[in-house]
Amino acid sequence: MTDLSTLKVPGPTEIALTQPFWDAAAEGRLVIPHCRACDQPFFYPREICPHCWADAWDWRQASGQGRLKSFSMVWKPGHPGWAPAAPYAVGLVALAEGPVMLSHILSPAPVVGMVLTLAPTDIGGRVLPAFRPA
C-alpha cells in the first residue's frame, strides 16, 4: 500500500470557523458541532445550525464509530496527485452521532454496512480523520 503521507494532494482549505476541526484531527481526534438550541449534532461545521438556524453551538468529541453507507474504489482519481495510491477507497461514513461525512477508507475490500472506526492518517503531510474497519 502506498504511503499516503508522501502524496502531493490538496489538503483542507480551513477557515477560522473550521480550524478547531482540523486542529483536533491533527491530534487524532474527531470533533463535530452540536447545537445548543435544538440539541442536534451536524456536519460539516457552519456559521449557524442547519437544523434550527441557532448560532450557538459547541464542538463535541465524536465517538469515532460509524457505519459505511457507500463507497467507491477509485481507479482513476479526479486529482492526479492521488494516482500513486490508486486503487484506494473513499466512502460515506454515517457517524454514530448521526451526521454523515465523506472520508478515506483504509480497506482494500469495503462492504456497505460495515462498522468503521476512526483511523487518523497522515495524508499528504497532514493527519486527517480517515476510517478503517472496526
Partner: protein
C-alpha cells in the same frame, strides 16, 4: 391542461472533443442564431435572455456580456445556475417571466468551449474543504457512491446498469452528430470497459465535449401558426450540494419535481411518448425511472429488460443518444434533453422520429443528484 408557453425554436452545435481558439460567447452566438432561424422570428422579437454560468471566461455580468455580444437589449435577463438542470430550469423561468408580463420572447442559451488544459477549480467551498482532501475529487466518485448504494440496497447488478449505457449507444447510431455515432456498445462491452471508480465503468460515464444549445420560448399567443412544442408542467427542487449531505442516496429531488410537473400538466407518466432523461451516469437514469413511478424502487433492471427504448420502441428513451451516447457538452448537456424533445414533438427528429409523438418528459439534474428540474412538454394540440 393549459399551455404555459411555447418552445418555437431550437439550435444545437454538434459536440466536439476540443475547441482550441473558440470562445464560449462565439459558440453561444452560433447556437442562438440556429434557434432563431428555426423559430422563423426576427431577432428584434427577442426581449428576454437566460444564460448559464460561464466558469472561466465570463465569471460575472454574464447576461449583459452575452446580450452585448448578440446585440440584444433584453427587458429580462438572468443566469440560471443549476448545473445539468440549468437548461430545463431556464424553460419554466422563461415561461414564468412571460406570464408575469415582463417580456414576450426569451432566448435560453447555454454552452461552453473546451480546452482540456484549463486550470483546476478555484473552489473554496465545503466540498473542497471536507471531501477533496480524502481523495474524492470530481463527479465520478459521487455517482459511484450513488450506484454502490443502489446495488447494496436493492441487489441491482452491473448488467442492469450496463443496459442503460447500451441503449444510449444504440440510439446514438441514429444521430450522426453524436460523439459515439459509429460506436455502439453491447452490455458485455460496457462491462468490459475499465473501472473508473467502482462500481462505475468508463462506458457508464459521459464523455465531456464542447457544445452549445439554444431554445426560444414565447407566449402561446405569439406561437400561433408556427410549429411549436408547449410547456405543460414543471417542477424543481434542490436538496444539497455534496453527496455526503444527500438526504437519500437511492431517490432524488427529481421525484417531487416530476410529481409537480405531472400534476400541472394533468398527465401521468404513462402518457409520455418520449422519456428525455438526464443521463450523466447510468445510475441517474436508473434512479429517475424509479422516481418517476415507471417501475418500483429497485426494479429498473427488470424495466430495462422488458422494453425497447429506441424511437420505434414501446418506451423511447433519449432518442438523441442521451448524453451517454451524444456526449456531454458541459452545462448544455442538460439542454440537449429539451432540444431533442422539442424536435420529436414538432416532428423534425430526422432519422429517429417517434411516430405521432404527443408528450415528453424532460429531466435535468445538477451536481450530485442535488438540483432537479422536470418538464412536461406537449405537441401542438
Amino acid at each position: 391542461m393549459r399551455p404555459q408557453a411555447a418552445l418555437i425554436g431550437v439550435g444545437s452545435l454538434a459536440p466536439q472533443r476540443r475547441t482550441e481558439g473558440a470562445s464560449t460567447l462565439g459558440m453561444l452566438a452560433r447556437a442562438a442564431k440556429a434557434a432563431l432561424d428555426d423559430s422563423g422570428l426576427e431577432k428584434s422579437a427577442i426581449d428576454g435572455l437566460l444564460v448559464g454560468p460561464q466558469v472561466g471566461e465570463t465569471p460575472q455580468h454574464v447576461p449583459a456580456t452575452v446580450a452585448e455580444y448578440l446585440g440584444l437589449q433584453p427587458v429580462m435577463g438572468n443566469v440560471v445556475d443549476l448545473g445539468g438542470a440549468s437548461g430545463p430550469g431556464m424553460i419554466w423561468r422563461a415561461a414564468a417571466a412571460i406570464q408575469a408580463g415582463m417580456c414576450e420572447t426569451v432566448l435560453c442559451v447555454i454552452g461552453n468551449h473546451r480546452n482540456p488544459e484549463a486550470p483546476r477549480s478555484p473552489n473554496r467551498n465545503p466540498i473542497r474543504e471536507f471531501d477533496v482532501p480524502f481523495g474524492a475529487s470530481g463527479a465520478n466518485i459521487s455517482y459511484a457512491l450513488l450506484k454502490q448504494a443502489h446495488m447494496a440496497r436493492y441487489g441491482s447488478t452491473d448488467e442492469d446498469f450496463a443496459l442503460i449505457a447500451h441503449w444510449a449507444r444504440a440510439n446514438a447510431q441514429r444521430m450522426p452528430e453524436a460523439i459515439f455515432h459509429g460506436q455502439p456498445a453491447s452490455v458485455d462491452e460496457v462491462l468490459a470497459s475499465p473501472l473508473v471508480a467502482s462500481p462505475l465503468h468508463l462506458f457508464e460515464i459521459v464523455m465531456p465535449v464542447a457544445g452549445a444549445e439554444a431554445v426560444i420560448v414565447t407566449s402561446a399567443a405569439r406561437a400561433k401558426g408556427r410549429r411549436a412544442a408547449y410547456l405543460l408542467g414543471a417542477g424543481e427542487k434542490i436538496t444539497h450540494r455534496a453527496v455526503s449531505q444527500a438526504p437519500d442516496l437511492t431517490s432524488g429531488p427529481l421525484k417531487p419535481s416530476m410529481t409537480r410537473a405531472f400534476a400541472q400538466s394533468g398527465l401521468g407518466v404513462e402518457r409520455m411518448s418520449l422519456l428525455s432523461l438526464y443521463d450523466c451516469y447510468t445510475i441517474m437514469v436508473a434512479t429517475t425511472l424509479e422516481d418517476s413511478g415507471l417501475c418500483p424502487p429497485g426494479q429498473f433492471g427488470a424495466f430495462m429488460r422488458a422494453h425497447d427504448f429506441g424511437p420505434e420502441g414501446d418506451w423511447p428513451l433519449n432518442t438523441h443518444g442521451g448524453q451517454l451516447g451524444y456526449g456531454q457538452p458541459d452545462l448544455a448537456g442538460g439542454m440537449t434533453h429539451v432540444t431533442e424533445a422539442v424536435r420529436q414533438l414538432r416532428g423534425s427528429a430526422e432519422g429517429r422520429q417517434i411516430k405521432d409523438a404527443e408528450f415528453a418528459l424532460v429531466t435535468g439534474n445538477g451536481a450530485t443528484m442535488s438540483e432537479a428540474v422536470a418538464l412536461v412538454l406537449g405537441a401542438e394540440p
